[in-house]
């Protein structure tokens, strides 16, 4: 790629005129903000990785756009020995993009790599440590022997670190080759990768699920919100994967593209500091602050309506969601009465800490100060650079009265959020909750019974609601901007859009 660039630069220097690359027929171009920069499944947690990775790799299990688990590289599976053993019947006759066969050895290699030294340097391993070992029963059957039942494991096998990788390719070509030129079994194979710019894929005619309709699929990495929008408007890209909420009206008015959205995993909330010498140490103050804010108005004003109010830190797709749990109402008068009862004088200052990188949340934060002013609380905004916020402010317990929390576990299992926010000692729980909460969270993690887990997770959500540990703001929809030339686009809640059945016209 460097060579291509050097040649291009030389051509530029000599003043030669080169034309832009013509867009091949049947090629769809996606714009997304981030370049994951490394395509090894064990070395990433980025949505930007999985949105392209979902078209290059397969897991044993595939999760469809309705979040149902479907056969992937495994045709079927059984849960044995009370969840201590998972048995998979593998699909036969599948090959990787390099021609290498997919078999039980590849499964074993993939997970031993993930749980061994290579995986140890990456962020994925910790999601899969409940796997003790992989046993090959025969060429097309493997057993996962667990060291503890893991109720979310089947879902986790459909994403990220569990993508099946080609043993021979990695051993022969080396780690770096795999990072930059990944090989999987998916519907598209990698043609070229230009770091920071684009990933070019072509259809895998031998895909086990049938050859894709498209000839090619290109991901372009464009950092600026306005530039991604301009590329869509000028026809340079066909789908924008992370269109800014503020750009929704522009896309809808453009006439050459439309907005497609589905409920997503991301929730936004304001966490309260419930301890120490702050007004929010009083549960009445926390409840009052929640009731001071018209959350539906925030959704209408800043998300262009593409979101839903929530009562806990999960949307309705999440396992553990409780439809019976109602959000606190918007009631400024009740809020003022509660504040007075708690002895909070009008004009009391409080501070909101939030991540400065999110322009939508910056607007929401401005509006929050207005709602708080309405009930006599003077909120000061403190935007903080991302890494500092994630490293120095939250885990160290250096926040003020309120701080932003945004989370969207791709597993859509409430455990993924709840454990992190409510269990003692977790990074996003710097001030502690209660022993009772810890016990609930630990019990559901050990349980292999989905009904019991669901009951406990609902209890966790209700307890957090009653204690008003946070103000759940909204559940964001996952929003795509799609050009009119695209047909059969299937929006995925987790941005892992599969393009094997999508078409483009012209």
């Amino acid at each position: 790629m460097t060579l291509t660039r050097t040649i291009l630069l030389a051509a530029l220097g000599a003043g030669l005129l080169l034309g832009g690359p013509a867009q091949a027929d049947g090629t769809l171009t996606v714009a997304q903000r981030q370049d994951p920069a490394n395509w090894d499944p064990v070395d990433t947690f980025l949505v930007a990785w999985s949105s392209a990775g979902a078209n290059i790799f397969d897991g044993l299990i595939r999760r469809d756009e309705n979040l149902e688990l479907q056969p992937g590289l495994a045709e079927s599976w059984e849960v044995l020995e009370d969840g201590m053993r998972l048995r998979f019947a593998l699909r036969q006759g599948v090959t990787f993009h390099n021609g290498e066969p997919f078999d039980a050895e590849a499964v074993k290699y993939t997970f031993e790599r993930l749980l061994g030294d290579i995986g140890a340097a990456g962020p994925q391993r910790s999601n899969y440590t409940s796997i003790d070992s992989i046993e090959i029963v025969d060429d097309s059957t493997v057993d996962f022997v667990m060291n503890t039942p893991d109720p979310v494991m089947l879902t986790k096998l459909a994403g990220y670190g569990a993508m099946i990788v080609p043993p021979k390719y990695i051993e022969e070509q080396g780690q770096e080759a795999f990072d930059m030129h990944p090989v999987g079994t998916g519907p598209f194979k990698v043609v070229s990768y230009d770091q920071g710019e684009s990933l070019v894929l072509e259809a895998n005619a031998d895909y086990f699920g049938g050859a894709p309709e498209l000839d090619g699929l290109v991901y372009r990495f464009i950092r600026e919100d306005s530039t991604r929008l301009a590329e869509l408007q000028s026809g340079g890209v066909d789908v924008v994967h992370d269109i800014a909420f503020s750009a929704i009206p522009t896309v809808e008015a453009s006439g050459n593209a439309s907005i497609v959205s589905v409920p997503g995993p991301t929730v936004q909330s304001l966490q309260f500091k419930p301890t120490g010498d702050v007004a929010t140490a009083d549960v009445r103050v926390r409840q009052a602050l929640i009731m001071a804010v018209d959350r539906q108005a925030l959704i209408d004003a800043f998300l262009a309506g593409r979101g839903s109010p929530i009562a806990s830190l999960q949307g309705k797709l999440s396992f553990g969601y409780d439809a019976a749990l109602e959000p606190y109402p918007y009631d400024p008068e009740a809020a003022m009465a509660l504040l007075a009862e708690a002895g909070v004088a009008p004009g009391t200052p409080m501070t909101i800490d939030y991540r400065a990188d999110n322009s939508t949340f910056a607007e929401v934060a401005q509006a929050l100060t207005g709602f708080f002013a309405n009930v006599g609380v003077v909120a000061e905004l403190r935007p903080i650079e991302d890494a500092v916020f994630l490293n120095e402010i939250v885990p160290q317990g250096r926040t003020n009265e309120m701080f932003q929390f945004a989370w969207g576990g791709w597993t859509f299992d409430f455990d993924n959020t709840a454990y992190l926010v409510y269990h003692s000692g977790e990074k996003w729980n710097p001030y502690g909750t209660s022993d009772e909460m810890d016990a609930l969270l630990e019990t559901q993690r050990r349980s292999a019974d989905p009904a019991e887990r669901e009951r406990i997770l609902k209890e966790v959500a209700r307890m957090a609601h009653d204690e008003a540990y946070h103000m759940p703001l909204y559940n964001e929809d996952t929003v795509y901007a799609v050009s009119n030339r695209v047909e059969n686009f299937v929006a995925a809640p987790d941005r892992r859009v599969r393009y094997d059945e999508t078409r483009v016209t012209e």
Binding site: R5, T6, L12, G20, P123, T227, A230, E231, A387
Partner: protein
């Protein structure tokens, strides 16, 4: 060999600048966030052991001076190290540096091509309608924030007229909007420098002598006056270069230009120390190099100036 002595003195100076700058940047960036934490920030079940393992794999468990000396040592042997997220650093720089330099020099040339003739014209027709118009235009140019100008260009030329692709680097046409964005802002300032210094020089006695000798006005203006006023312009360009690099960062982001700015911003966001250290060192060397070039140019422009 005074020139060799001079050059080696300047090279030593450059080295010192680079060490001070990288030492400061390497130290400061480590105070603001841990890349291992960034790597694990979305991993729901990560434990303290996971964090320790990743820090070890990144070499972050070593004392700061060891990490820094490792980096400086590598720099001298041409090894720029390995990014925490993106593989070896050298190829990244090898792609990004030419892209940024291409953008910088094109913008600079565009701005000189416009600002010198216009500035000279304004100075020689002082107070005329054209002079007034040029001054107003340059003030307008100065008042544009570069990111705004970039976005407006995209709206006009890409979205409305559809003449140019809004972003990326696919051919010479990709260079037009980013270079124009930076060029317009540079032109605005350069125009004012050229006009002011030309006015100054044109009132000097030797210009009167030149005119009295009966030289053509053209020769007086372009040979005598412009040459002497260009010393101020060259000085200014040298000083401007550091700022130009800062401005390019923003413009690169707007146009998705794969240069050093984009590389640096991503590295800062991820706390990718190896990339950041390399980018800063190379920019420091470039800036020191450009200023050396400026000093050498003085001697060419005015033989009375001696390099010491």
């Amino acid at each position: 060999m005074p020139i060799l002595f001079y050059l080696s003195k300047r090279a030593l100076q450059a080295l010192l600048v680079m060490i001070v700058v990288t030492l400061f940047v390497s130290f400061a960036i480590r105070l603001t966030g841990d890349p291992a934490v960034m790597k694990l920030s979305q991993a729901a079940n990560a434990t303290a052991e996971d964090l320790a393992r990743i820090r070890e794999a990144m070499g972050l468990n070593r004392p700061f001076h060891v990490q820094y000396l490792d980096f400086i040592g590598g720099l001298f042997t041409g090894d720029l190290g390995t990014s925490f997220f993106r593989g070896p650093v050298a190829p990244l720089i090898a792609t990004a540096l030419p892209a940024t330099l291409l953008l910088a020099t094109t913008s600079l040339l565009v701005s000189l091509a416009i600002s010198i003739p216009l500035g000279v014209y304004a100075a020689t027709h002082r107070g005329s309608l054209a002079d007034q118009a040029i001054r107003v235009l340059s003030l307008v140019g100065l008042s544009f924030p570069n990111f705004w100008l970039g976005i407006m260009m995209v709206l006009l030329f890409s979205v409305t007229l559809r003449w140019l692709a809004p972003s990326g680097f696919t051919g010479p046409l990709s260079l037009v909007m980013p270079a124009a964005t930076i060029g317009i802002i540079l032109t605005a300032t350069n125009l004012r420098i050229v006009r002011t210094t030309m006015l100054d020089v044109l009132s000097a006695q030797y210009i009167m002598v030149a005119r009295a000798k009966g030289l053509s006005e053209r020769k007086v203006v372009y040979k005598h006056a412009l040459r002497n006023s260009s010393i101020a312009l060259v000085t200014y360009l040298g000083l401007q270069f550091g700022g130009l690099m800062g401005g390019i960062v923003v413009v690169e982001l707007v146009f998705g230009w794969p240069g050093m700015g984009t590389l640096a911003i991503d590295a800062i966001a991820q706390r990718d120390y190896p990339i950041l250290q390399a980018v800063i060192s190379i920019l420091a060397i470039t800036i020191v190099g450009v200023n050396l070039l400026v000093d050498l140019t003085y001697a060419v422009l005015d033989p009375r100036i001696r390099l010491e």
